[in-house]
Structures are given as structure tokens and as C-alpha cells.
Amino acid sequence: MKEQLMQILTECCPDIDFETEVALIDDGILESLDIVMIVSEIKDVLDVEITVDDLVPENFNSVDQILALVEARKS
Amino acid sequence: MDSKKWIITFFATIVFIGAGIIGFNFFVDPYGVFDNIGIEWPSYEMTMNPRAAKITYLKDHHEEYDSYIIGCSSTSSFPTEQLNEYFDASFYNMIMYGADTLDTEQTARYLIENYEVKNLIINIYLDNAVEYDWTRDSLSYQMSPEVSGENPLGFYSKYLFLDPRVSLKKIKDLRQDTYLQQGFDVFNAETGAYDKKVRDAEHIGNMEEYLAAYPAFVNYPTVEKSIDEEAVAGTLKSIAAIRDLCEQKGIRFMVVCAPVYQEYLSYFDWDAVEDFYTRLASVTPYWDFSMSSVSCEPRYFYDETHFRNCVGKMALARIAGDDSVYIPEDFGVYVTPDNAEEHFREAKQAVALDAEENTADVPVLMYHHIDEQGDDSAIITPELFEQQIAALKEAGYTAVMPDDLLAYVNEGAELPDKPVVITFDDGYLSNYEYAYPILKQYGMCATIFVIGSTVGNTEHYKDTEYPITPHFSFEQAQEMIDSGVISIQSHTYDMHQWADYESGRARQNILRWEDESEEDYRKALTEDCEKERQAILDNTTESSVHVLAYPGGANDILAQETLQENGFDVTFTITPGCNTLVRGIPQSLIGMKRYNICESVSVDQVLEWVSAARG
């Protein structure tokens, strides 16, 4: 799961170092467009639906947070 | 510092800055509202706010005055000098911008209750019948609280919290102040009237030129004004109140209606005007100067609403019954309930005086040297000179002297049908040798303007080796004076120097040197006038020296004004042209034009020039 997620992320935003960044939203590294792209890719590739309500900083600041969100929504 | 301290410091700073502004405004006091501490400049402050500044001024100076004249700004043109003379009093002029009757009443009351008042004159004009109490917010119109009875706190705070730039401007203007009046100090603080030194030093001549210079009289602004019953009632009530107060205190009370321009009168409905004036007569008799031939003559006015000082002089002469001054016949009527109706019927028909009656065209001829070798713009041969004089005589011209012109303008005397003024500049011996006999022979007269320092000089320029054309001496001058043909007048004592021959800095004409201070200049010119006068009066029996021809024709307002202060009321330039004298306007005698006559000017040319006058 994590590898697939990493692949999506790096494909969407190749310039970002997702391994180390932990303040993707707070520091403005991930923009709204990026988020939308990521979400639709996640829908497409992982078949997990993330809704608007989920788009809060706490869910997207680091890869681990995104992963947690995806896994929560999968069920 | 901690935050609490910061807050306190913050507000303290604001208070500190505010106090600074208040202190600055109080000290500089551009409107003359605060008692005389700090920068005192009464004429400036009166210009900013005459109501308040004059009251402040009187606090310190009221003992110098015992009579007052109150009204709107045109009231200034009743000259203080004449007021003092005719009323044997010491007047202060309390004019205020756009004074309404309430202002007048309050001011009158304040003066009467606080100071010694022997005479009180108020000026009423038709705007008083339009608006009784005209409220204006401008800081230039606020009345002192002691006079108006308004809350002093509101009044003073307006001036304490003034935009400090206004105070700053006063300081800036102080640096630029000159002797002659400028836009920021139009008042004469000692009299309370407008300082018209500059305007009264302007040449006034023919109507065409005048209207070109002051087109307002051609395009007189059209305004709608209607007389309001409330205003009339208020005005009459106030006047009655002042009248009663004066009666109580034994003060001589007088109401005048100052001259206004005819177009201004046309703003109003005639019946309403007549009604107002008639009702005024039943409250108190008054002098009406507002409707007469004077109203139809633009030259009697500085501008659309202010008549000239010379007209004010005429008005005062009328009141005092002084016959020695020229006054147009229909000017000034003492209106009482008995003659009101008749007066207004006549006044309705006021028309301008006939140009023939109150103006005269006078050409002036200017000669210099007479010599057989006549080949210069300043030289003429004796033969041609005689021919010219003979031709003038034959054509019916009468030579007149400056004193005759003065009598015409100021005293209502008559001039001959075809007057001409003959003048000679510099005082050359040739005048005595050639011109004098010829003039005597033909029964003409002339004025010779001598340069005091060269009189009697036949050889050299001052104490140099340079030769000059000989000048006649005082003995010779006396001879000419005795015959009644010649008058000796001023061409300055020593302000027509030849630069090349002077060791120091030369005064080639009467103008101030650019780097010379006004004070030094006026002192120098005054000294020169005194020297010249002394020289002529001590050495001849000439009765008075009051006519001057400008060296080289150069003149400006400062020079003219200084000369007037020194008693020179007739002056000549070298600008060619004819002169139009207007009865009652002394300014038509200053800066007069003259035709330069020399060998190249033929007899026909001379005749053409002098006859163009009547054309």
C-alpha cells in the first residue's frame, strides 16, 4: 500500500521529497491542485474515495498521515 | 519598556504633539484671535479675519481712537484722513468682510460699551436687506466671542486646533513682506481700512483703456438677489437699536448708503428697493450715495463692488458741506421721510455724466533742448519751435499749467476748450534763451522740470572734465517765474546721473536698484525730493514743488507711491499719447503721457497729435 501511495505521490509531484517532509500543508508545499490530483489518482488507482471533508491539514501533512487516511477510508 | 508603559508613552506623545500644535498656533496666531502675545502682525491678521483681529488690536490701542465707522468692506473707501478732518475726531475703520446688520449692531454695541465713542457711522447697503444674519463657517468670518456673545470655548478651540500649516504660512509670509501691500496684508492696521497705496498709484485715463484693464465692468457678473422682508425687518430693528443706544450715550450717529455700481443695483426689484430705503428713512435719516451718476462711471470703482477712495472723499465733502472739493451735483442726498419719495423718483433716472462734463482730454508736449543744430531726438531748432507755438496759438489752443489740471480734477474748475500742456525737461539754458521769449510773445505758458544738482551748470558735468549742455541758473529761473509764463518743477535733484561720468554707482532714474532694500530706497528718494524742493523753494519764489517728470520716463508703483507720500501729485512719463482727466479722480494726473517733440516732428504732426485728443 505504502509503495503504491509513494508512487502516486511522486508521479504527481516529482519535486517534493515525501520521505522526509512532515509539514506538506502547513508549509504550503502541497497546493490545492496537487491535492486534487493526488485524491483523484488515489480514487483511480487504489479505488479509495476521499471526500472534501477529509481535506484537512491533519490528514495530509506527511505521507504517514495520508496513508492513515487512505486506510481509514478503504474500509 | 513593558506594554503598560508603552501605552502611556503613546498617549503621552499624542498629547505632547497636540500641545505642540496648540502652542504653535497660539503663539503665531494667524487670525489675530488671541491677545497680543507671540508674533504680532496686525495688518496680516486683519486680512485673515478682520472681525476678530481688529477687536484684539483695539484692546491695546483703543485710546488712540474716539470714533468708528462700521460696515462691509466697501466702507473702507471713506478715507480716515478726511473723516478725522471733517468730524474733528480720530476714527477707526471697523470694516468686516461681508458685514451683515447683526454684525454691525453687535460691533457697535461692543465698542460703545467698552470704549470712548464720540461719532458712530454705519454703512448700509442692499445686501443687508437680503440677509440679516449671514452665518458663515469660514475661520475668516468668525466674530470674537466678546462681541457676538457666542461660547468662547468653541470659538477659541477652532483656532487652537487650526491646521498648523496656516500658522506656518504666516511665518513664511513674514519673510516675504514688502513695504507695498501684498495679497496677505491688505489692511492698514492703524486706520483699519484697506491699504490702497498700490491701487491709488495706478494711472487712470481713458475709458477704453480702463475697461480693457478691468473687464469686470463689461462682463459684470449676473446674480439673482431678492430683498427679504425678514432681513429688512431685522436690519431696521438693529439700526433703531444702535440709534437709541447712541442717543442714550450722546454719541453722534450717522447712517450712510455707500456708492455702488449701477449693475449691482439692477439685481434688485426696484419697488422692493424703494420700500426698503423709504422705511429706513423713517427709522433714521441717512445719506444716500448709492444712486447717482457716480454709480455709472466705472473709473470711480476699484472693482465691481468697491468704490475708490477719491469718491469716498467726495462723499465726505458732501456730508461736511465742503465746497472746495469737486462733487458731482447729484451725488449724495440727505434722505428724510419728507424727501424720500422725491429722491427715489429722481434717483431712478440716474445716468452717467456726460463725458464732456466730467472728463477732459489734455495733450502734453515734451521738449528738451533748443539749438540751431537740431539733429537729435531731444533737440529742436528755434525756428521750428516758434512755428509750432504759433500754429498751436492759431488753432485756438490754450497752454495750461499742472495747477490748472489739479483744479479741474479736484475742485471742479473748468479748463479751456482746447488745452495743451507744454513741458521742458532738464532745464537747459536754451529754454531761457529761446523758448521763454517765444512763449511770452505768443502768450503761452510752460513747465520746466529742472535737475536740481545741475541748475546753473554751464560747463562740466558735476566736478568732472566732461562737457555738458549749459543749464540755466536760479536767477534766470526766477526771471521766468516772475513773468508768470514758466513754472519750475522737479526732474529730481540728482537721480538722472550719467553712469559713465559717475565715480560711484549711478542713479540714472528714479527706480530702486535691484539689490537695494526698500527702506534704503525710499529714504534715498525722499531725501532727493526734499533736496529738490528745498533748492527750488529757497532760490525762487515758486509757490510749491509738486510736479515731477520721471527721468527717462522710468517709473513703477513703489516710486510713484513714494512720490505721492512726498507730496507729488502730478507726474509725467515719456510714453506718447493723450491723457484723459476725470473729475474727482486724482489718479488721472499721475503717470501722464507726453509727446516727444524734436526737429523731426513737423508742425502738422504736432497739430495732429493735439487734435486727436478731441477726436
Partner: protein, 524 residues
């Protein structure tokens, strides 16, 4: 009531005193009273619109809370189903609230414009029929408080927090007075707790508030109002000026706009700070933006954020857009295919931002301008990266960043032509003129002295802008200035009070007879 009026200062002063004197429990009521007073004095009867919005969102909030609460009544497993069941109702509530407010907004703000637009069409078919025009006054800050309130409803719908049960407290949230003129658009969970909090008098709040407000007044009165003179002169009659003069005027418009808007926001935040309330920032050194999209994240931040959270995300992640994405991915494929639905959503957002500014052709054009450029750059991003690789351009290099900043400035600058020209078509002409007939000598031959400002004024503007930029540069590098100031001695700190006051007095207040204080964003 203008920020620069004496009455506003008096209102704030009185409110501050009463606020700290009142019993703490009712401090929020003081703020409410002040807000209503502010609104009534400034807008009279239009305060009714505030009540209208407050009432609709209050009711909606309670309803949504009720529906949301349904899920707590059943055991965990059934929650999702229950939520699904009530989803329709909840969506209806939100929809209805949005309609109730935005339709009103449309009538107040855009009706006359569209009526005039369609009049010719009506004339064609129904001769003589006149579409009735509304003569309703635009209430102060309607574009701000409506959005702020609708945001609250949507947040409640999303279950972010329970609805506010106190009508008056919610009313305060809707009409908190410092925000009414030009924002910022706050979020309930950020602002409300601060509004209702109980506070002791803390001099630090007063100090920071005063400092911030003074900075705002400086930008507004000394810079913006001054620059406005030039702008108005040129824009009133652009045809009598050469291209370079027009550009000069637009440049000064940029200065005026930034000074006025950011200065106004500083005053707003400063005043709020007096009560210990920290409002969201609306500007973050927009001059340093590297792209137009980046610009809109630094300029009018709260508007962009609102659009992102309540319009962009819902739109871009909605089913229709998802379907569109599937199609484009198949048909066009590759990166481009994936981006198309997002790009479309982006375009729509910027278009809406454009017309949010006003009912006028030029704002539609403005929307198009922003939308197209950002969308284009999105779609072309792939190609753009390829070019950069080929030319071996390093993204992070300083010079490249400088290039990006200048490019962005230029694009923003062009956009200002559109919003400030007297008419839309004139803007096109003005841009043409700038490039075709600049007549550059006009810039130094004295023409700029005929625009209503003297040399002294230009010096003041130049120095002030430099001070402003220096301050922002410092903030970018080192953070908050006032903390550094606090470490200085008494003299320095006192000068930091005296000099701004004197500057405001000499170059601000005492000039106000020749400059008018217009708040550009006031009627939004």
C-alpha cells in the same frame, strides 16, 4: 463609517473602554453592540440584511445539527447508513441556505448589470418592455459576511463542529465590525472562540493593536490616498496621456491598491487585536510571488482559501468532474488528460473570483484573465518542464526565481489595467497604447508633475514604499519586527512612537483636505 473618520476612532475607543470595564461574561455583547452600531451608523436600514443572513445560517446550523445528531442516536455500525439516509436532507438545507443568501447577493449586486445586458435581447422580442432595475442599496461588506456565514453552514454540514445555539453570538460572528469593510473572511472555528472569550485587560494587546493599526493607517493615508490622486487623474481621462503615462498611472494603481487594501487589513487586524482577537492574515508579501497562482495565495488570502475549501474541492472532487476525468484520461491520456478536469475547475474558480469583485464587464474579463493564465500554465506545465530541462535551467537558482517574480509582477500589472480602466474596451486600448506609443520621455520631462502631485509628494511616496518594502523584506527574513523593537532602549522605542505619529500627522492627516480617503474594497 470610514476607517479614517474621527467617528470610527471614537467608536473604537469607547468600545475598548466599555469592553474591559464590562463583566467578562458579557464582553462579547459589547462587541456585538459596537458592531451593530457601526453598521447602523454606516448603513442605516441595510443592517436588516445582516439579520437576514444571520437568521438563515442560524436556522440552517440548528437543522444540520439536528440531522447530524441523528447518527449519535444509533449504535456505531448503523451510523454510516443513517448518515446516508439524512444526507439528502442535509444537502437540501445547505443548498437552500446558499440559495437564500447568494440569490439575494445576486439581486443586490448583479441584477442591474445582467438586466442591462439582456435588455437588447428583450427589446428584440418584446418591444417596449423594460426589465425592471433594482434601486436597492448595496449593504456594506455583503460579499464578505455572506461568504463568511455560508462557510459556517458548510462546516457544520461537514460535521466540523456543532452549530452555535446562541443567536446573538452567531450574529456577532456574522457582523463583527472590523471585518465589515473589507474582510478578512474568517472561519468560525478560528474566530468564534476568540470572539466569545473572556479577557482581562492586557496592555500588550492594546500595544500590538495600536502598532498594527498605525502601520495600516500609514499605508492607507500616506501611500494609498496619495497615489490615488495620480491614478484618478490618469484614469479619468486616459486618452489624453501617452502610453508611458498610462503605465505610470497603472503602476500607481498597484501601489494604491496594495496600500489601501493591506493597510485596511492592518487596521482591521489592529483593531481586533485591541480586544485580543487575532484575525487571519490576508496578505503575505505578494510582491514576491513566483506565479499567478502563487500570487492568489498571497493576495486576498482568505478569499482564495474560501474558494478553495468551499468551491474548488467540492467541484474538482465531485462526481461529474470525476466522470469527465475518466473520459479525458481515456481519450487524451497522459498527464494532460489527467489535468483537464482540475484545470476546468481552476478556471471556474478564478472566474468566480473575478466576478466576486463586481458587476461589470471588466470583472468578467478579469476573471477570464486570471483563469486563462493559470489554467494555461497548468496545461502546459509538462511542456514547460521539458523546455527547462533542455535549456538546463535550474528551478531553484536565484536568478530564475527573480525572473519568475518579475514575470508574475508583469502579469499582475497587466491585470490591473483591466480592473481600473474606466471601461473594459478602454483597457485594451490602454494596453496597446502602453506598448505602441509609450513616449518614454514623458517619464522624466515633467509630465508626471501635472497629474496632481508635486515633487514632495512623489518623494514621500517613494520613501514610504521603500520603508514598506524594507519592512516586508525584514519580515520575510527575520519574522516579526515589533519583537526586535522591544529589545531596544527607551529612546529608540519612543522614536518608534513619535516618528510614525508625526509622519501620519504631516503626510497623512494634514493632507486629507487634498486627498480623499476611498476604500476600494468597501463596497464588496
Amino acid at each position: 463609517m470610514a476607517f479614517t473618520s474621527l467617528s470610527f476612532l471614537i467608536l473604537v475607543a469607547i468600545t475598548v473602554v466599555v469592553y474591559y470595564v464590562f463583566p467578562k461574561k458579557l464582553q462579547w455583547a459589547v462587541l456585538l453592540a459596537a458592531s451593530l452600531a457601526f453598521y447602523c451608523i454606516g448603513g442605516g436600514k441595510t443592517v436588516l440584511y445582516v439579520f437576514y443572513t444571520a437568521t438563515t445560517v442560524y436556522a440552517a446550523g440548528l437543522l444540520l445539527g439536528y440531522f447530524n445528531g441523528k447518527k449519535d442516536q444509533v449504535p456505531k455500525e448503523q451510523r454510516k447508513a443513517v448518515m446516508e439516509q439524512y444526507k439528502k436532507y442535509r444537502q437540501l438545507v445547505v443548498l437552500f441556505t446558499c440559495l437564500a443568501n447568494f440569490v439575494l447577493l445576486y439581486i443586490l449586486k448583479y441584477w442591474n448589470f445582467t438586466a442591462e445586458l439582456f435588455q437588447p435581447l428583450v427589446d428584440r422580442f418584446f418591444h417596449g418592455a423594460q426589465i425592471p432595475l433594482s434601486s436597492l442599496l448595496l449593504p456594506l461588506g455583503v460579499s464578505f459576511f455572506m461568504f463568511q456565514s455560508v462557510g459556517y453552514v458548510i462546516d457544520v454540514y461537514r460535521g466540523k463542529y456543532p452549530p452555535e445555539r446562541n443567536y446573538l453570538k452567531l450574529l456577532l460572528y456574522v457582523c463583527f465590525f472590523p471585518q465589515m469593510v473589507q474582510g478578512p473572511i474568517s472561519r468560525f472555528h478560528e474566530l468564534a472562540p476568540q470572539l466569545y472569550a473572556q479577557r482581562k485587560l492586557d496592555y500588550t494587546n492594546l500595544k500590538y493593536g495600536i502598532q498594527l493599526a498605525m502601520w495600516g493607517y500609514f499605508k492607507k493615508i500616506v501611500i494609498a490616498d496619495r497615489a490615488a490622486v495620480v491614478v484618478n487623474t490618469v484614469m479619468d481621462n486616459p486618452w489624453s496621456y501617452s502610453g508611458s503615462m498610462i503605465a505610470f498611472g497603472v503602476l500607481f494603481y498597484c501601489i494604491q491598491l496594495y496600500g489601501d487594501f493591506s493597510g485596511g487589513i492592518d487596521i482591521t487586524r489592529g483593531v481586533a487585536r485591541l480586544f485580543g482577537i487575532d484575525l487571519a492574515e490576508n496578505f503575505q508579501r505578494p510582491l514576491f510571488s513566483v506565479s499567478l497562482a502563487d500570487f492568489w495565495r498571497r493576495w486576498h488570502i482568505t478569499l482564495g482559501a474560501w474558494m478553495r475549501d468551499y468551491l474548488f474541492y467540492p467541484l474538482a472532487l465531485s462526481k461529474p468532474f470525476g466522470k469527465l476525468g475518466k473520459i479525458t484520461r481515456k481519450k487524451i491520456g497522459g498527464k494532460l488528460g489527467k489535468i483537464i478536469p482540475t484545470s476546468l475547475a481552476t478556471f471556474i474558480i478564478y472566474f468566480v473570483i473575478g466576478i466576486w469583485h463586481g458587476a461589470n464587464c471588466r470583472y468578467i474579463a478579469f476573471g477570464f484573465w486570471n483563469g486563462s493564465i493559470i489554467t494555461m500554465s497548468l496545461l502546459l506545465e509538462g511542456k514547460y518542464s521539458a523546455i527547462k530541462k533542455k535549456l538546463h535551467i535550474n528551478d531553484k537558482a536565484a536568478w530564475f526565481r527573480a525572473f519568475q517574480i518579475m514575470r508574475t509582477c508583469f502579469i499582475v500589472f497587466l491585470g490591473r489595467y483591466i480592473t481600473r480602466a474606466p471601461r473594459f474596451l478602454t483597457a485594451i486600448w490602454m494596453i496597446k497604447e502602453t506598448f505602441l506609443h509609450p513616449v518614454l520621455p514623458n517619464l522624466w520631462d515633467g509630465t508626471i508633475l501635472t497629474l496632481g502631485l508635486g515633487i514632495m509628494d512623489y518623494v514621500v511616496i517613494l520613501l514610504s514604499v521603500m520603508v514598506m518594502l524594507a519592512a516586508e523584506w525584514y519580515q520575510e527574513k527575520h519574522g516579526v519586527i515589533r519583537e526586535a523593537l522591544e529589545k531596544q532602549g527607551f529612546l529608540v522605542q519612543w522614536l518608534a512612537i513619535l516618528i510614525p505619529l508625526l509622519v501620519l500627522l504631516c503626510f497623512g492627516i494634514l493632507r486629507s483636505d487634498t486627498i480623499s480617503s476611498e476604500f476600494i474594497y468597501k463596497q464588496f
